[in-house]
């Protein structure tokens, strides 16, 4: 059967399935006042019922992150659209996972992977083993060979279901906290935490990051921390001093429209590149893209 044959057969499905859909251009426009009144009623109902009906997010049951252990027991590969994705096991009480088991994602032999209930992305997956035991796993990176690359747009699309800037609600930056001396903490306070919701900023950010080229886990860091200099730069030869690191680095947290956050990235204005936690390096960006991000994040 060719695909146009299937298309023709779909044309002959029961009328009731066609009747229940009215194409968007056919829908009568609701007067604005009616929309406003309905929206107000919905807000009241949602406000009253939110705390009662809203289930906890999956993050709320994670106990202190992943196992941060690269042994086979704590990391596993899963095929995602042709990529071998590495997932890390999370510390969570298996009994609490039961209510988070959603649709099946993939199964093989005696292992079944499930979406997290209420989520359409695969940042997290629930694994049920042959004994019915449940564990939670979080996406870490795509496991490509030394000569292969992927873009961060692939990660956003395949893992987070994000393929346009409209799927991003906000971007939050926070200081890099490698130096927790008094001086370090003072610098961190000066950098501060900022949330960006301007749509133009979010669009500009998305357009830059979707093309960022990512390397596999066994690739050396191609970044040069002396590539750019700033008003705060005080580099000692090729050694990055704490001041540069704190003022020139931002930990990034991206919030999506489905409530999921992506919070495993750091941006370095010094080298003009992103880093993923777990030592996943990326290709340094073009100067123009670095300037765009610096402008958004206020790095001068």
């Amino acid at each position: 059967m060719k695909n146009n044959h299937l298309l023709n057969l779909i044309g002959e499905i029961d009328d009731r399935y066609i009747e229940e859909v009215i194409p968007v251009s056919q829908k009568k426009k609701v007067p604005l006042l009616a929309k406003v009144l309905v929206a107000a009623c919905v807000c009241i109902v949602v406000g009253l019922g939110y705390s009662y009906f809203n289930p906890s997010s999956i993050e709320s049951i994670i106990d202190n992150g992943s196992f941060t252990n690269n042994s086979a027991e704590y990391i596993t590969p899963i095929m995602v659209d042709g990529y071998k994705a590495t997932y890390e096991k999370m510390r969570v009480d298996g009994k609490r996972l039961k209510s988070f088991v959603g649709d099946e994602y993939i199964s093989s032999d005696s292992l079944k992977w499930f979406y997290v209930e209420g989520y359409d992305n695969i940042k997290y997956l629930v694994l049920e083993d042959a004994n019915g035991k449940l564990t939670l796993w979080r996406f870490s990176h795509f496991n490509v060979t030394a000569s292969e690359t992927y873009t961060y747009g692939d990660v956003l699309r395949l893992i987070y279901n994000v393929d346009c800037a409209e799927d991003i609600v906000s971007i939050t930056t926070s200081p890099f906290n490698a130096d927790n001396s008094d001086a370090g903490k003072a610098m961190q306070a000066e950098v501060g935490t900022h949330t960006y919701t301007d749509r133009d900023d979010i669009l500009a950010f998305y357009e830059v990051v979707k093309d960022v080229i990512c390397y596999g886990p066994d690739t050396d860091n191609p970044a040069d921390d002396t590539r750019f200099t700033y008003s705060f730069s005080a580099q000692d030869g090729h050694y990055l001093v704490a001041k540069d690191g704190i003022y020139g680095t931002r930990c990034i947290s991206i919030k999506f429209t489905d409530g999921t956050t992506h919070d495993t990235w750091k941006y370095s204005a010094l080298s003009g590149s992103f880093f993923e936690y777990g030592s996943i390096f990326t290709e340094p960006m073009d100067e123009s893209d670095v300037y765009i991000l610096n402008d958004i994040f206020g790095i001068k």
Partner: protein, 186 residues
């Protein structure tokens, strides 16, 4: 005008049947044709052919759902026209993209165990749609019957375009499994 009255005009062989049909369903039929052909002139031609076809078959046909009856005629005529245009390398509506998406539902040849009649495949499709949750079914029908764009579907249901894409992807995978299970031949 009520559908039963419009149909009565067809049975009375009153030309007012066409004008009432055009008034009530002209826009609906034009939408279907335009989503496939993406050309106003060609779409209008298909819609006019739809009225002619309806006039030819009513009576004796007495459609239970006039809107869907007309929609199916328009869809078939538009697809036929589109196929001819593709042969001449014209047309840039949603049709080509929709066809590419549906390739995923076709099981590969080495999974085939038996040949299935069109009617049987249609039964499988209807059963598949019956079992789908209503929201997923509507998105599927919007895309593969009406050829609505991802953007239009997202806007209609107040969801993100990525959610539409994922929903369609998963539904196609499910349909493929169902067709494979029934041994549908490629």
């Amino acid at each position: 005008m009520d559908d039963s009255k419009i149909i009565a005009l067809y049975f009375d062989r009153s030309e007012q049947a066409i004008s009432e049909t055009a008034k009530k369903y002209g826009r609906y039929c034009h939408y279907i044709a335009f989503q496939i052909l993406h050309n106003t002139e060609d779409s209008e031609e298909c819609v006019n052919d739809t009225y002619f076809r309806a006039w030819s078959v009513i009576p004796p046909k007495h459609p239970e759902h006039l809107r869907t009856f007309l929609g199916k005629i328009t869809r078939n005529l538009s697809l036929n026209k589109w196929e001819k245009q593709i042969a001449q390398k014209r047309g840039n509506g949603q049709c080509e993209q929709v066809l590419e998406e549906l390739i995923e539902c076709i099981p590969s040849e080495n999974n085939v165990e038996k040949i299935v009649e069109d009617r049987f495949i249609l039964e499988i499709l209807n059963d598949f749609l019956y079992k789908l949750p209503a929201d997923k079914r509507k998105i599927f029908v919007c895309r593969y019957w009406y050829f609505s764009s991802i953007k239009e579907i997202a806007k209609a249901y107040g969801i993100s375009e990525s959610k539409v894409t994922v929903t369609l992807f998963r539904t196609r995978q499910m349909l493929k499994e169902v067709l494979e299970k029934e041994g549908v031949l490629l």
